[in-house]
Symmetry: C2
Subunit: 387 residues, 2 copies
């Protein structure tokens, strides 16, 4: 995998010179790179979409059993948020850890400001949000909360939004001035479990666990107000135990609709993006975890909680019908599309591999070994508000 | 600008070794890079958004008086389409020309397939579309047409769409198999002058110059059919001479609407994305050239043809009102937003500079010298269908 130049250098006996840090991955552009969380080993795998290959493994990131990450705007650095409160800045170009801190006892996710200057982390233990300098990871702000914070997203204008599980409060924090300005913009309802920002940064959607429904906030408004919808969903059927909480970052926005997981039900719910009225429900093979739009297509792909996590279904957002059911591997934990939609990468945790499927044929075209892979994150996320 | 490693190598007398191609920009990630067309000098300027800086100038690209480009999926290469039929593959990492051919007498633009394997060019003289291997620029296919081809875009599944100025015909070419399959999918109308694909690759919109109206094709359909709209627009007012043809790649898709330039009028037309009915018209300062959505915001920005090309206006897509009028420099030819919307870069051709404006304050925050700059293209375009 090393280029001729690097081999030549080693041959010339210059291995101890500074120049050897010009490792193989340095001479490649970052646009088709990605990072895969290896949940059991505290490691991440840097992958290259263009060559369908793993480039290198970086270890020592802590407890990655529930981890996510966000990218710097130049795609050089991934900020990995670990379950144990670790925040690790990974250098994709150098292939190593650039900085690492343990900033809390238990954290759940994070975000980077639109200008790439600040990284914010949402914490469970203790609750609240901490904000760090993206360059050095030096602390910038510590915002306490009355409980566990969830659904942290970046909002344009060097702002972040988040919700509090215990109180239902939703906050907007503005870090563009000398001092942070934190505003409570409303109460979402009982036990918000996750939240997501629409791709145009217009609507902040908060999913509720303690009661039925979803709450929307219009972040383009000067005075965002909570607007509850889907308040009846699931009331007529019988709910099942929730084996795995769905992830709202997987909520798809297709054809003027939101495609939402029905918590505890084997259903996808389709909601009109403007009216917030439910327009359809699609029965699916299990409890949805991620519902992800295949870019540049009418389709969304869905994976499921146990015991159906060997199954992936493809649903047409126009007809709301399942058009394909795949069995790509054991325990499919995550799916990430090439940004223009030509292929999708899936994590098959218990097969210890990544599976790559061509979206035109829906057939496997390649696989890559990985250790208990979970989240897959391609670098084009650097350019998406809310990711 | 050269890193210590490079200087050390030169000092060691290894300048003639292959390793010296490890130039400075090789060690930087590509996510915040961009390429600026310098229209009068046949050169391009590689810029870095993260540092608001020019990195290097690459010369010898031919007649760039009407040029555009597209990126490889890994953001390493820009394929520059010149007016004189030149197709130049620029290596952003090495900072040099990787390959160059003159493939026709007069070309108008091009596109790259969703998998990054094929580059297609639409030509005026002779007409038709030529397709090249993205790696080597070796010819792959030569599709004749009954006239000048315009509005060439990539469509998922290794396909391209284009229209013919002389005949109004619209074609879909499928290059996923051993032999190309070219299908005429309908007639758009008289003198299509440009076309654009919506961000979800759902609708191919063709602007007409020979008659009133715009024609839409549903590319998600197995049998796309032409659907004409805005057929009355401008009939009641008096049209003015068209000083500069608007660019449809600037059409904005905001709030469930298309924002379209009224050809020959001082107006933006707003059309409902689903019904294709006109919902509003906004009087503006001149004849619109580019109408571009500010990402993650309710705003579109508009620049204008002569004699109003010193003016840029900002319009709210919710109220359809002009909310700001800026005079950022002489002859503003193009605008490109940071992908998450924090700032916008403008080409001020006759001031020989790029102007950078913070979108939160709408104040200039920096400028960069450039020679007669026109198009600005940031690398995140690599991840957008239709660009």
């Amino acid at each position: 995998m090393r280029p001729a130049e690097f081999a030549a250098l080693v041959f010339l006996g210059l291995a101890a010179m500074p120049v050897v840090s010009v490792a193989e991955d340095r001479i490649q552009a970052t646009g088709s790179l990605g990072v895969v969380i290896e949940r059991a080993t505290g490691s991440v795998l840097v992958v290259d979409r263009a060559n369908r290959a793993a480039l290198n493994r970086i270890e020592g990131l802590g407890d990655l059993s529930h981890a996510s990450l966000t990218y710097s705007p130049d795609e050089r650095f991934a900020y990995v948020f670990a379950r144990d409160g670790g925040l690790t800045k990974v250098d994709l170009v150098e292939g190593k850890i650039a900085a690492r801190i343990v900033q809390a006892g238990n954290s759940i996710g994070g975000a980077i400001s639109d200008d790439g200057k600040l990284v914010a982390v949402s914490n469970y233990e203790p609750g609240g949000v901490k904000v760090f300098d993206a360059g050095t990871l030096a602390p910038v702000a510590d915002i306490p909360a009355s409980g566990k914070t969830i659904g942290l997203v970046d909002v344009p204008g060097r702002r972040f939004a988040w919700a509090v599980w215990d109180s239902g409060e939703v906050f907007l924090g503005d870090f563009s001035g000398a001092e942070p300005r934190i505003e409570m913009i409303g109460n979402a309802g009982q036990m918000p479990f996750d939240a997501v920002l629409t791709d145009d940064a217009h609507t902040y959607l908060v999913g509720l666990f303690g009661e039925k429904g979803v709450t929307a906030f219009d972040l383009w408004s000067d005075r965002p107000e909570p607007r509850r919808f889907l308040t009846d969903y699931g009331k007529e059927g019988q709910d099942m135990p929730v084996y795995k909480m769905p992830h709202l970052q997987g909520w798809a926005f297709a054809e003027g609709q939101f495609a939402l997981p029905a918590v505890g039900r084997h259903e996808i719910l389709w909601v009109n993006r403007d009216s917030l009225e439910q327009v359809a429900a699609t029965p699916v093979a299990g409890q949805p975890v991620f519902i992800i739009e295949q870019p540049a297509s009418p389709y969304v792909w869905v994976n499921f909680a146990l015991p159906d996590n060997d199954t992936v279904q493809v649903v047409d957002s126009r007809t709301h019908q399942v058009v394909d059911t795949l069995k790509p591997g054991k325990s499919i934990l995550h799916m990430e599309f090439a940004p223009r939609g030509a292929e999708v990468w899936l994590s098959s945790r218990d097969d210890n591999k990544l599976v790559i499927i061509d979206t035109a044929t829906r057939k496997q075209v390649a696989e890559i070994p990985a250790q208990s892979p979970s989240g897959i994150f391609f670098t084009n996320r650097a350019h998406q508000p809310g990711l």
